[in-house]
Symmetry: C2
Subunit: 315 residues, 2 copies
């Protein structure tokens, strides 16, 4: 799957992914009103509004973005109807030819991680038939439980030609509390490492044997709010593709991103969520498009983001 | 909520929680056949079988266990119908007076963690009304993202009189890969700590101001496969209630558990999943009860577990 992602990025000349992280605040009133009228002002209505909002945006960006990244928490918040909207978003994105990175940040012990892996990357066997529970192409994985928590995702990914992004260094302000702790371990033979480096080293190792087009199916998440980390890790993990969240709303800029890419301008994909799907609420897009044309605002914001990044990385 | 859990444990004299982690292999044929006949041999049929299986077990254990802990991965594996079974299990457990610990191991950055916290412990506002997405009483949380990933769960828990269990030291074989790493940090003033201790210290800190009956709403998960860790952490974290997985199928015994409890025999709750819900597949319960009476097998296995633990802790 990683080679498909790299190919899609090259074809569209856009190392970006759009985070589909809807909140009711980001959805224009006319979309919500129509959905509430159809399904009621309840969980079903909210889910209907999310589906319509996402579809309109997907329609306007599917020719310029290689991938979307729905954040499942934003759907789970609306219970079962919300998760139905999550699934509908995955399916519609696939219809439109997009690669889907499910931002689920799952992780558990062995057999439980296997259940999550089947849910998001694989299939479940009932009788003689296989069923696809959610069907993302990639999903994000939390590494805190170690190899036997991550390995089931790697195994399912290998079997089904899918990929994963393991959290290495997240974009939030307090990510350093644990991730930046210096490790004092005799096995390091005197070299000092920090936790995220050790996790990163494991990501490189977990991906062995899955390398295509220079990068492995086991990729990493490193927030663009920490460019010094990106620079170090890009060199340290030569086969690890990097998903870079934090552009735009979280404060990252195109210039910060350069270090996450390799010398060919590959090796990373940058996510923006609110900056794209909520573009209509902020100038200049607010005055240019407004709520009625929120989808065109998203397209323009995405074009501007792609230009900013490609300029920074000389692509 | 923690004081409710402690009270329920005392009333039933049972510091245990039953993990409702169904797989199709653990469900007897007659339950599956009836469900497939009703809903088809598909995701809906599997979900129907899970609901029936869980209800039958809940009916037989609700007078002797204070709590149940459904593992959401086992439901997510069956897609939307599976998650419907998860919700139905929570609702039925509540009907039967049980406390529900949602084993969801969620964790993300600020606003996204807030969405997860609303999903599992809180409510979501749509128009003027509040809706309860899943409605567990506690949920498990992954700490890898640090304070601003955990804090939204604490805030929602405080607001709604709920609680959380933060992963500190998990029961799986490779949990030590990251969790046991020694930290070399000048702020420790020379004292050597390992990562799970530092996470544990944060759990104690996050729980400040939420202490009831001696324990805080911010509790910890520490696997019973590591009793030496339990012993150390019980002393280190005086206000942290401990959820102890790994009893039975993962190899822990009653004797291993003693160290997780305080001198009053409180401060911890022990989980068993397959050992209870899959009891009918293993002797002595297999020959005594068999698949037809799987629910009675679960009850007997739970009674035996309670006796084993109470004997070990002198309760």
């Amino acid at each position: 799957m990683i080679e498909r992602l790299i190919k899609a990025i090259d074809e569209k000349n856009a190392p970006v992914v759009v985070g589909l992280d809807p909140t009711l605040e980001l959805i224009p009133d006319h979309i919500k009103e129509a959905a509430f009228k159809k399904c009621g002002e309840n969980l079903d209505g909210a889910a209907e509004a999310i589906i319509e909002f996402n579809k309109r945006i997907i329609d306007k960006i599917c020719d310029i973005t290689p991938a979307v990244k729905p954040q499942i928490a934003m759907y789970e918040r609306f219970g079962l109807p919300g998760l139905n909207a999550y699934k509908a978003t995955i399916d519609y994105s696939h219809e439109k030819g997009l690669i889907v990175i499910g931002d689920v940040k799952r992780g558990d012990i062995g057999s439980t991680s296997e259940a999550y892996a089947e849910a998001h990357l694989g299939s479940v066997k009932i009788g003689e038939k296989e069923f696809i529970p959610f069907g993302e192409d990639f999903c994000t994985v939390n590494p805190y439980l170690g190899t036997d928590g991550v390995k089931p995702f790697v195994d399912v990914a290998k079997r089904r030609d899918k990929g994963i992004f393991v959290l290495v260094k997240t974009s939030n302000p307090s990510s350093g509390e644990f991730q930046d702790r210096k490790l004092n371990d005799p096995s390091n033979s005197g070299d000092e490492t920090v936790l995220y480096e050790t996790v990163g080293d494991m990501v490189e190792k977990w991906g062995e044997g899955t390398i295509k087009d220079g990068y492995s199916e086991v990729a990493a998440v490193i927030g663009c709010t920490y460019p010094e980390v990106g620079e170090k890790m890009r060199k340290r993990l030569p086969h690890v593709f990097i998903l870079v969240p934090g552009y735009g709303a979280q404060g990252g800029t195109g210039e910060d991103l350069k270090v996450f890419f390799d010398e060919k301008g590959s090796g990373a994909i940058v996510n923006s969520s609110r900056g794209i799907i909520g573009a209509w609420k902020k100038d200049p897009y607010k005055s240019d498009f407004g709520g009625e044309r929120f989808d065109e605002a998203s397209r323009q914001a995405l074009l501007d983001m792609i230009e900013d990044i490609n300029k920074a990385i000389g692509r």
